[in-house]
Amino acid sequence: MAEQILITGGRVIDPASKRDEITDILIENGRIAKIGKIAVSSGMTVIDATNKIVSPGLIDLQVHLREPGREDKETIETGLKAAITGGITSVVSMPNLNPVADNQAVIEFQLKRAKELGLANLYPTAATTAGQKGERLTEMREVKLAGAVAVTDDGVDVQNAGLLEKAMKWAKTFDMPIFSHCEEESLHSNGVMHEGAWSTRLGLAGVSDAVEDYGIFRSLLLAERTGAQFHALHCSTAGGLQMIAAAKKRFPSITCETCPQYFALNDSICADYNTNAKMYPPIRSEDHRQAVIAALKDGTIDCISTDHAPHLLSEKMKPFAEAAYGSVGLETSLALGITHLVAPKHLTMMQLIEKMSTNPAKVIKIDRGTLRIGAVADITIFDSNTEWEVDPKKFYSKGKNCVFAGMKVRGKVIDVLVAGRHIYQNQSFVAQ
């Protein structure tokens, strides 16, 4: 007799099959076997999802797990646990590790570790250029065969446009998506926050929107020329999103993402020299935040990732200009999406789930992010009404550097299943 799990009475939302109804789901052998009114029979494990939303497990395209190299900041274990509590069942890890993930060994190490842990699924990316140095191409076929799902130089953009074009051709040759952190470094001189009224008020060097726009322009131009599958990471500017919207009409394989900090916050969060608000791209001014929301609504932005970036507190307890870039985000992204996008009716719950699960799965071409019959049972069950206050001390992530600390949000993950394994039950991990 196959293992059977029955999820009853939940509001099942599956953007891939356009389903949004209160119904039951039967899971057998780690896959979705049946959807509809299902009677409980003996031997079934029952999860009561009444008044809760049952969604395909969320997929986060941009996460910094720090292992190998900086296990003091985060490990694969703490990062994947943090992901699960945020409802994220698949994590795409960035390659800025030590050593850099530009070779099979580092990819295989991460996959082996994740498999041993049995928490969230891990999909590593590899660097676009060796050592992320922007000098020569990574062996993309090798890393793909080892299990990498995309190439990206992550926190840096390939500054040499000629090399970027070759990287796109090489990536296309081996059918690898290329993710870019779009930035023209020469356009800002050590900027540390968005350039605007707040940077002027605070006397901090600014990063203008042109820095990102120029990077996006270059990448789009080369993506169209080469036909590479291009994905723009963490979009934060009105101009960049406009260019992406136009490019997508000609070239539909272009995709992009934003992160909660760019739709939930504006640069006034840097007042008081709050170093947890220091990140790249910088949190922008209100007009850009509105443009990000508009692009989420009109579909220009396909995905919501976190850019989860754990750091030691001592790396943030520094003058603003010297503090590390980034904020953790795995444990708050769904709640921030509900609070700042669904509650004010910018997106429907289905659209939010589409951007946090269905679409990311398509970008890295994995057979997840759906509740279709036969699909792998990666499932997140959450209560969209519970209000809570973000308290980094309670995070599973080692990183307590959270720009959302102290904020009130709505939506709490209750249960998580990964390939039918009910690893997170009623807001606690099940002992393995």
């Binding site: 006397g203 020299y273 520094k318 003058p319 200009a321």
Partner: protein
């Protein structure tokens, strides 16, 4: 007589304290705070270098993490002439030993310092540190951000000439982008009701400066000077990143340096101000340094008086809430 001098100061003070426990930004000060500081500074000014005992038994640390001549000596003498003991902590070995600024500040604070004066290349560091010390934090210049005691000097000097500054036009000429002097001075003059104008090449103009400071902005120096009551010259801050924002100092000086001819475009009786260090013949033509309208050395003299007023008020101010990290 020391007693009568102190009594006079106490009478002027009239049991008042500042509304802020720290001075990291001009935004910390109310108009009443500014007036109190000015009133006391005028009295301190008369006393020159006279030794007083207003801060006897108080310890003041001077954290000059960036080199300084006038500001450091001004704060040091101000503290000592008020009877406080000072110690320099800026050139210590903490940085070499990778001790964070926050830990250095807490260490000094644990020795019961009454005030810590901070000069740093980092915008915001005094504001960040102020949360973790019982000692009053005095910003003596942070990066491109602010230099509040300098602004108080500017305000005192200008009001000594004009009385009220309401409706007076101050034109800042030069490197606004990298200037903490501008950051504080423009905040204070706006608070005192003056009209702010900026004349600079576009590379020296920060984003949205019009809205942040309510400033009129132009790159036409001649047009900017006309109708001006105070010509405030800001030096080109090659030490703070201005290199590359101009072609050559020679061309900059020709285009924006204040010559006698340019200065005369301003209103009759206009004042010439500069917070120093002056780059003679680049910022200001040599011949202008000693004209009767120049307030450059008077500003330095007022500096001592302003810092005495600020240190006295902050070291005997309201109790402060802080946390340890």
């Amino acid at each position: 007589m020391t007693t009568s001098v102190s009594e006079r100061l106490l009478t002027i003070r009239d049991n008042r304290t500042l509304s802020t426990p720290d001075l990291v930004s001009i935004d910390d000060l109310s108009l009443a705070d500014c007036e109190l500081i000015f009133a006391l500074a005028r009295e301190f000014h008369k006393l020159k270098t006279k030794k007083l005992d207003l801060l006897k038994g108080k310890a003041i640390a001077l954290g000059f993490f960036e080199s300084s001549t006038r500001t450091q000596s001004s704060f040091d003498w101000a503290a000592k002439q008020l009877g406080a003991d000072t110690v320099g902590v800026g050139s210590g070995t903490s940085e070499k030993k990778h001790e964070s600024f926050f830990d250095v500040a807490q260490v000094i604070d644990s020795m019961n310092a009454a005030a810590v004066v901070i000069r740093t290349q980092y915008s915001g560091l005094p504001a960040q540190i102020a949360k973790y010390t019982n000692a009053a934090i005095v910003n003596a210049g942070d990066g491109w951000h602010e230099h509040p005691t300098q602004a108080l000097i500017d305000g005192l000097t200008a009001s000594d000439d004009f009385g009220s500054l309401k409706g007076k036009r101050i034109t800042y000429v030069g490197d606004v982008l990298h200037s903490r002097v501008f950051g504080s001075s423009a905040r204070l003059f706006a608070k005192l009701g003056a009209k702010i104008r900026i004349a600079a090449p576009l590379t020296f103009i920060p984003e949205d400066v019009e809205t942040v400071f309510g400033a009129e902005v132009t790159h036409d120096i001649e047009a900017a000077l006309s109708g001006t009551d105070i010509v405030y010259v800001l030096r080109v801050q090659n030490d703070r990143g201005a290199t590359g924002d101009i072609s050559t100092l020679r061309e900059y000086s020709k285009a924006y340096g204040i010559s006698e001819q340019r200065f005369r475009l301003a209103n009759k009786n206009a004042l010439l101000m500069h917070a120093g260090p002056v780059q003679r013949d680049t910022d200001i033509h040599h011949a202008l340094m000693t004209i009767p309208e120049s307030r450059i050395l008077q500003m330095v003299e007022n500096g001592l008086a302003i810092r005495k007023a600020v240190l006295w008020l902050l070291c005997t101010g309201a109790t402060k809430s802080f946390t340890r990290i």
